[in-house]
Symmetry: C4
């Protein structure tokens, strides 16, 4: 805390608590997704149907639970990767992270809407739009963290830009062709392997171009 520039140092926080807090919020958001499933089971006092029927008659809520779990887990891993050995975080980054956490915390709401209205076009767009917003905010955070690094370390991390682009594409598909339903989201799980395949080559090219 030199006298010359006390303001920036004071406002930039160490990332540990921010990350621990974010991890906590994501872990809870992920786990709360199961609560609507638990509510599908009738009360012990007045059981009706059977265990198997509860599953076969509720494939839409169970599927939306599994899909949201997979997507949030994937976003968490991307968040982990973005902040891995990040330096101190700026107030702007804290703010963007808070909005990102909002998109995660709100997820049980669109997830349950998908379970109840599996064929509704608005619900589809609302669900995919939330995922796209979350992914776009991760991309913004990737950019902000990159910018706060020393120039020499930049470009060595590939963040969530690929996922963001895929989700933008899926979101546009839901706008023009909602009849395809949730199938375009499978692209999301193909983007990982594709990125893993392409990223090292892109980087090698970039590094050569720089040298």
């Amino acid at each position: 805390m030199t006298a010359g520039e006390p303001a920036p140092q004071r406002d930039w926080l160490g990332p540990e608590r921010l990350l621990a807090f974010s991890d906590g919020v994501v872990a809870i958001g992920l786990t709360l997704l199961v609560l609507p499933l638990a509510e599908l089971v009738p009360d012990a006092e007045e059981p009706h149907g059977s265990g198997l029927e509860i599953i076969t008659e509720n494939l839409a809520p169970i599927g939306s639970f599994a899909l949201s779990f997979a997507v949030i887990a994937r976003f968490w891993a991307a968040h982990h990767r973005v902040f891995d050995d990040a330096p101190r975080v700026s107030p702007l980054l804290v703010w963007v992270n808070t909005v990102w956490l909002f998109t995660i915390v709100v997820m049980p709401f669109p997830t349950e809407m998908v379970g109840t209205f599996p064929d509704d076009a608005f619900t589809l767009r609302f669900y995919v739009g939330t995922l796209f917003a979350s992914s776009a905010l991760l991309t913004v955070m990737t950019f902000l963290v990159q910018r706060s690094r020393a120039p020499a370390d930049r470009g060595l991390k590939h963040g969530s830009g690929g996922t963001g682009a895929v989700l933008l594409l899926i979101f546009l598909v839901t706008l023009v062709a909602p009849q395809l339903g949730y199938w375009p989201l499978l692209l999301l799980f193909l983007s990982g392997p594709a990125e893993a395949l392409l990223a090292p080559r892109v980087e090698r090219l970039l590094r050569r171009a720089r040298n």
Copy 2:
């Protein structure tokens, strides 16, 4: 643990576990806010209405969820700032922090009341009063942490005093003019930028005055 003063050292705890525990409680409180929203969605077995209607017919609960999320996230950031590189914490601080956590944990209750009774004066005052209590306790904690620092480090941190003053003002407004509803709470989100603008100047003045 010298023989001369064993008592204070034994009762003062390292802040790590206190902060991790507080972060956990706040993260869960923040995330549980979504549960009433998830309950707005009808069961998958007997769907009625549509995805869009669930949103347009429940603007009050959705708005109170978003407002409470924003306020708790803001309080968490203030808590983070208050305790950043704090020395060991006294039993009194642990106690005040526990009461503060109570004001956070209880938030889903007034939040849901706001969603159900958006025009009720008592509910408005109860909600804003809870926020004010939470903010006042943060100010008390700022003061207690400041006092435990070495004198040279004091005054370099601006804590949540500004937010506390704004919430006291808003609380007074709800007492005399409840018909204004929740709009005065917008001041809360203006106080951040205002403080960021003013604080460095105030501090520069203070530092000059001290030298």
Copy 3:
């Protein structure tokens, strides 16, 4: 990991993850207590009553929520104190800690029973019995941690023995005089100051007696 004694070292774990996990469970248990309160609020679609009525007509659930919050927060602080700078933890201690976590996780169940049946003698005993079991397990953990310290460090920590004794007393009172209701639990909050007053003197006596 010398060849001579690999078994004990391999089974004794570092306390960090155990404590972080316990803190997480307690933080969630504490926060879930509010959910029954949030359910007291009628749905936004069919509001009846007023904000004030929800509070005045539900004093028993609100009171049991506040009481359980205060007790769990107190137990957490005691747990913090027991494990503060503890060495590696034995499998037995992990096991006792798991049973202790069970008594914390189960708390929303007796808490809600108290809110529904405030005058029921069985409910009173079940609630106080759960608290006593939790406190007794804390005392066992205090003892186990003490034993794992070097002899020179023993006796310098006063754990939760006082709270355990007070809860045993209160539990016995509920068995013979359930008509006193929940009032004897107030003793719990007096035991803290009493212990703070007495402990240093007892210790000074002990230290003198040892020298």
Copy 4:
């Protein structure tokens, strides 16, 4: 980050955040198990029955809650043991850990089904099958962590292989003899002491054989 092998180092993450995140998810999954119990208690506004009746009439949900708590706590301890002083974790391990977390998060769903349909063969197999899947994934993770160690450190840790084998056995029993109900799960709690008894001898043999 030498120029020679940047790819593996970049994709392998430090285990701290993965473990903290997993601990958070398990802690929440464990704690959410109590929510169906809390819902057994009638509303404070319309109490019926008594505190004792709520317990005696709901032994199946209470038993399934206690059983799931014990099993998840045991799995967490096994997870702790698998990752204790693990080196950096590979993307594959992150992926397997995510699927494992899914088996934990989903637990409240089969647990509540057991509480409602205690005599249903499908429910029994679904519940035990979930436990077996979770345990098998732990065994896979044990293997993956072992492989990432230096050869000299391998074989010194006994992981969750024993539990996995016991659960496979119990799962097979539920397939051929569902009328035995949940009793075979007791084997799970006997496998711990058996392993503790046998493991040091097996290891001593292994170490002798190696020297």
